[in-house]
Symmetry: C2
Subunit: 344 residues, 2 copies
């Protein structure tokens, strides 16, 4: 029996457990650990894991794969704790929203005979805890994979397989690239949402503003209801990128403000019409990422994941989730990505 | 037969027509006009109006009530056009998203023997045109009513009745107050949404950013898909308030950016936790507007609206939509509101 360990059993860890269970891996046992014992017990009750460990050390001992799904700033301590207890060849991955610090901690703290491959399943919701976990949370969502340049192909393949088995769409990038992009598309939007809510909430006219508010204000401030610990850890581990993109965002706001003040109706109208058109294109036919690789055939990634775990071939359910063509495309994409450097 | 005219048969004008039809006013004929004849024909086909007029003049002649639902900057010309053709005592209202300019135009251009009461049903969606119109668009949404201080109570009551008949919740304020509040809760959010989309779209990494984007980015940029003419007219007629609140928004962003840069984790965490709590309170139990009036009983407003139109009592369907207690509360609210001055 292969052993998979999940450390941290909140929304993401719990959903990983449920999504792995849905993929029906054979001969695999999923063991969980959470520093909060009540959270761990609820995760067990909801079926996210099959067994609970009494410590992170116990959870990872003899595990073929370890998924660290704790708050970002706790990952460092988890690495320190589990490092002496990992068996040779174990694949360690994480689910954190920022990747630079996590990869640095992995390099500094994990033994050289285990394989660390960073991961970021780009999914979430405002609710937290194992109660909020869903087996379909990652379905169709990007799952960013950040391998070290010297990562063993088999280990990378296992994490690709994990990403696909839980329903995600693997995307490859390096840590700097990930953190810059995530700042622009996810962390700065979080700040804009927080600021928009605070602005209205701090006004003496708040009762009037609240009474007049509609779906627009609710949607735009939704992210302000996110878990404070998660937002905090994101900002603390991606400070420079967030500040950089926030400056650019402020410059863009000031450009629009100037357009409004200048009162040249035609320029303003043209700008608004162009943005509307581009937004509509984004929704109806989003741009393709440009990279293309070669045609080399590679073994199926879910296969690698399942084989590594249980020593058995993949199950029918896992087969349904993807197909080998998709895997080949992703493998090519990964190889092409590894040859590139981040830009912007 | 009483005649109601709707000038401008797009999303809002069309939805007003459908919502009025749903209220089943008796002995009432709804006539529509749109400068775009194809739009007018589609509105007729979808049942938003019973008849089409060949001109705005023809539409308003002998009308007991006129609803102007054109883009904001066109309202001025509509007033000029219809002014000589309005019969004495006609109630004229509008649906524009800003109220200061509209009330100034009404005072300057409409004859003194008609009653102008400004209106702003706070509802909308990204799609436009009569195809997108819905009879339930205003259900449960705030419907801001902006009477002149010297407005005849009967005329105000008729517009309250209209607001309730189409499913809205009447709220009273003066034009300055409305435009300041709308800038904070609606027009600045629109700018933040436009800027967030442009920022990502203009980046050379756009294909990567788009591929990584999730529901958060989609929700936060939704307003960027709004009709450019509407956004344009809002900004042009509410410039000072929008610029004022945008400056405050930028200051709030810079405050958060500083918190992130300073790296005092505790202050940042406390701020995030506080915002989350306040946002959750806003969603689960939004604040009440503070004003209270006296207990004076007033005649039912839908009654006024229906009586003015068809000379008949309201129908069963209209009775379902509201009840007299609600009307009394709203009347009191209006009276209290008229005694206050705008703040913030």
């Amino acid at each position: 029996v292969g052993k998979l360990a999940i450390i941290g059993l909140g929304l993401i860890g719990g959903s990983m457990g449920l999504a792995i269970k849905r993929a029906e891996p054979v001969n695999t046992e999923v063991t969980g650990y959470d520093r909060d014992f009540e959270v761990a017990e609820r995760a067990l009750k909801f079926g996210a894991v099959q067994k609970l460990a009494r410590s992170a050390e116990e959870a990872v001992s003899d595990a073929a794969m370890v998924i660290v799904a704790t708050p970002i700033l706790n990952i460092r301590r988890v690495f320190e704790t589990i490092a002496p207890h990992l068996r040779q060849g174990t694949v360690v991955t994480d689910t954190a929203s920022t990747k630079g610090e996590v990869l640095r901690w992995a390099r500094a703290l994990l033994p050289e005979n285990v394989h660390f491959i960073g991961g970021h399943p780009m999914a979430g919701k405002e609710k937290s805890g194992p109660e909020a976990a869903e087996e379909s949370l990652f379905d169709g969502r990007p799952y960013v994979i950040v391998p070290n340049p010297y990562a063993a192909p088999g280990a990378v393949n296992a994490v690709i397989g994990l990403a696909q088995a839980v329903g995600g769409k693997p995307q490859f990038m390096d840590a700097d690239e990930h953190d810059a992009y995530a700042a622009a598309i996810s962390h700065v939007p979080l700040v804009t949402s927080l600021a928009l809510f605070s602005l209205a909430r701090q006004s003496t006219a708040w009762p009037e503003l609240a009474a007049m508010s509609g779906p627009g204000f609710k949607d735009l401030t939704r992210l302000a209801s996110g878990e404070p610990e998660m937002s905090h850890d994101i900002f603390m581990t991606n400070k420079d990128n967030v500040v950089h993109w926030l400056d650019r965002y402020v410059a863009e706001l000031q450009r629009l403000s100037q357009l409004i003040q200048d009162g040249d109706p035609e320029t303003l109208y043209r700008q608004l019409a162009e943005t509307q058109m581009e937004r509509d294109i984004f929704i109806t036919s989003p741009p393709e990422r440009k990279e293309h690789g070669d045609d080399t055939e590679t073994p199926g990634a879910i296969d690698s994941f399942m084989t590594m775990l249980g020593g058995a071939l993949w199950t029918n359910r896992a087969k349904e989730i993807t197909d080998s063509l998709e895997e080949q495309r992703l493998q090519r994409e990964r190889e092409a990505r590894m040859r590139r450097r981040p830009e912007d």
